[in-house]
């Protein structure tokens, strides 16, 4: 079967012939995102270069009743940006920072602006964009908005949701709406809040107005080294319960430490440790040392062998690079890596981590933990060989058990990666059919035809009056 008659040609009229890809070979790179194990081939991919082109593309797709999947940098970890035989709308060419206003402390950006590029542009004003996913060197603001992305520093500063003031969005039917305001408060429903984290199902952001945060006066980065994961987990719970809010509080287990230290990202972590905590405290210079001393004391009391404070910016950057590139470093261990995501109440860290270890042993798989301990956001990462069906089956069984364990502990199935395709089967672990149906109705307010990112986030069977994927409308 070929594409719908005329659609590719009409899209090419909008974005130019080089902005439309439809040969299988050209589309290979778009078959997957950052999560292995899924491969979906888009029917075609279209790459608008300007806002006007994007608007024209979306309206053309609406005119043809064609389903589509928006995609930023494709760094997502839930399969959310995969287009299964539908149109993929690539936003990575819309990379303009439209304005930075140091007085209002806001920036207006196109959806394809890379996260770290925004912070770099804000640096001359003493400002930064706070949400910092590990993929920040590649991921886009539009993708961050779609996923409500987090990152290590969200512990103190909040996730994407807390840093977006307004979005101009184009709805799947082509209507342009303004959600939120950069001029002040708006009355009425928090449609902006609903849009953020809607995983590309509610429309596409044409521009995003984000809050920029002043750089802290002072920063201290601590490395605490433990001989057991349990001790590090107890230290984490102690620090959180103390009321001190670190800027970040990250944990890495022994397997992760050794993978990082064997890689080009070696950060000087102690390779004989079974866990480290990377703790960052920031704020006013005055009083910071007292908080550092308290945190050091809590780590030592929980059994830390050593707590060291980074001496300078270079050492601090090195400690962070090891953490942020840990996923890359794990590539040395195995051919495929599932970066998992779940959240538990912070007091449950020691026992849930122990259960995960037990699951890994029983299923004979390798789990490395590198995660946002401070907000209970686990990333149990499983390295495996996707070409080994037996191992793949055990990985899936373990994953399901891990999710069930986190839910049973009072947690949730994703803290920052989203549901996408990967977590669809777990949605009914935490939401009733009634809640899922309510989510379907919300989606239909934004996209009555359900053409935007079809088949993601809410399981199809939860949507009443579901007519099946609307694909038939344009293949016939």
């Amino acid at each position: 079967m070929t594409h719908a008659p005329g659609l590719a040609e009409r899209l090419a009229e909008v974005v130019g012939p080089r902005g439309v890809l439809q040969r299988p070979g050209e589309l290979v790179v778009y078959r997957s995102d950052g999560l292995p194990g899924y491969s979906k081939q888009p029917r075609l991919a279209v790459f608008p270069r300007t806002r006007d082109e994007l608007v024209a593309v979306v309206r053309l797709l609406a005119e043809h009743s064609v389903p589509f999947v928006p995609r930023g940098a494709g760094t997502g970890l839930s399969g959310g940006a995969l287009a299964d035989d539908v149109v993929l709308v690539g936003l990575n060419r819309l990379t303009r920072i439209l304005s930075i206003d140091p007085v209002e402390r806001v920036a207006v950006v196109e959806p394809g602006v890379v996260n770290v590029a925004l912070t770099r542009a804000a640096t001359p004003y003493g400002l930064h964009y706070a949400p910092d996913p590990s993929s920040q060197a590649a991921c886009t603001i539009g993708g961050n908005v779609a996923e409500n992305a987090g990152g290590p520093h969200c512990l103190k500063y909040g996730v994407t949701l807390n840093h977006v003031r307004a979005v101009t969005a184009i709805l799947p039917d082509g209507e342009i709406v303004r959600l939120g305001s950069s001029e002040g408060e708006v009355e009425g429903y928090d449609l902006l809040g609903a849009f953020i984290g809607s995983e590309g199902c509610f429309g596409i952001a044409l521009d995003v107005t984000v809050r920029l945060s002043p750089n802290p006066q002072a920063i201290r980065t601590l490395l605490a080294d433990f001989t057991s994961v349990d001790a590090a987990a107890r230290a984490t719970s102690e620090i959180i319960a103390s009321g001190i809010v670190p800027a970040a509080l990250e944990m890495m287990d022994g397997a992760t430490i050794r993978a990082v230290e064997a890689s080009i990202y070696a950060a000087g972590y102690p390779v004989d440790a079974e866990a480290i905590l990377l703790i960052e405290l920031d704020g006013l210079e005055a009083g910071l040392e007292a908080d550092v001393a308290r945190v050091e004391g809590m780590c030592s009391a929980a059994g830390a062998r050593m707590v060291r404070v980074a001496r300078d910016d270079a050492e601090r950057a090195r400690l962070w690079q090891g953490r942020k590139k840990a996923f890359g470093a794990m590539g040395r261990i195995s051919s495929h890596l599932v970066v998992q995501d779940a959240v538990i109440p912070r007091t449950r860290l020691p026992d849930v981590l122990a259960v995960i270890r037990e699951i890994a042993e029983r299923q004979r798989i390798t789990v490395c933990n590198v995660f946002h301990a401070g907000d209970g956001n686990l990333h149990p990462n499983i390295g495996y060989d996707a070409n080994d069906p037996d191992e793949q089956a055990r990985v899936h069984a373990a994953m399901r058990e891990i999710m069930a364990t986190c839910v049973a502990a009072g947690g949730t199935i994703t803290g920052e990666h989203g549901i996408g395709l990967d977590k669809l089967d777990y949605m009914n672990l935490i939401f009733s059919e009634e809640s899922l149906a309510a989510m379907c109705r919300l989606r239909e307010v934004f996209d009555p035809a359900r053409r935007a990112n079809p088949g993601k986030v809410v399981p199809v069977h939860s949507c009443r009056e579901w007519h099946g994927a609307p694909r038939a409308a344009w293949t016939a």
């Binding site: 409500n148 002040g184 408060e185 928090d190 959180i240 006013l284 959240v343 989510m439 919300l442």
Partner: protein, 407 residues
Amino acid sequence: MTVPASAASSPAVSQKASPSTAPSSPPLRPGSTADVREIVGDAIARKAPVRIVGRGTWLDAGRPVEAAGELWLDRLTGIVDYTPGDLTLTARAGTTLAEIARATAEHGQWLALEPWGSDDGSLGATAATATAGPMSGTLGTPRDVVIGIEAVVGSGELVRGGGRVVKNVAGFDLTRLMVGAWGTLGILTEVSVRLRGLPEREVTLALPLPNALAPLAELVTRLRSAPIAPLGIEMVSARLAARLGVGQQAVVIARLAGNADAVSAQRAALGTFGEMSDVPDSVWTAIRTAEPAEATVVRFSSTVARFPEVWLAADRLAATGDGYAHASVLRSSARVVLPHNEGAPPDAALQLLRGTIRDTRIFERLPAALWPVLAPSRATDRLSGGVRAAFDPHRLLNRGILGETHA
């Protein structure tokens, strides 16, 4: 509005309902989520709109409501889950803020919302109205602090959004949608929030507030970039300052917190601004509860750049209407309280409201007759209408409070 025979005989419903649809029908006082569900089911069957009363505070906030009966949530109370080490808490919607403050203070923690009004108000109403008090510039509004909700929506289903953990992106965000919806999508029955550790120390300091634009703008700019980490910075008009006992002139008061070293450094930093005085911490509660029983309350939300100008206009409006004004420097938002004289603010103040102040303004309280004149509905766009229809298709819940004229 009535309840089904089965519910009318149950102890969950306080008074036996009459078949009348007159607003004078006895209030319903459910004691459980199941009761709320039953009541909504009954309202759907009878097409009888319901006013959600909560604990009965702030009843004149928001536009007039058309209803056949009142639903109180003052029996739907109690903390459901509180593990101090997690810094999260879940409580039934009718639980007072005072009860939550007591429970959390025992563990050196607090629910850092401190909304307008007293702590007799409920957690559910705070979430439903998303009211943001003087600390919200730093500590967030209910939209930032609420992490999960349970609600009976207008179509009768029981839905949950979010959860009890501090980070959660599972599914579409029903929590954000319900918080600030003023009950028009669903009746909140349970709310989960994040808590904070109480600051080790805090101090509140007052500085004189200039009343000319240039020095005012300079002060605001300096405050925003000073080496301080305030929980709140509030400008207070002269009349309010007098009521609060902090002098006869307009002041700006700052709440500074942290450990001992941090607080003394901040005090020193603020000392460079001018003649500074200590103010008791209780001033923050006094500001929240200063509003008279009958008043018009309007909020002006602006950009940082225009904020000094907006403050001066708000202060002028307050003086014209024999009322007072206060404003959050960190949110660039001013609030004017105009006491009523024979049911309305003075004519001179109304004139000003009608004509001269054009910034983003949001009315909180207003005489019933003035709502359509001064505050046309803000929720008439297609998406808002669609959301309402998706959750409350019969427009049974708090009908009219957001002013929407069609669903």
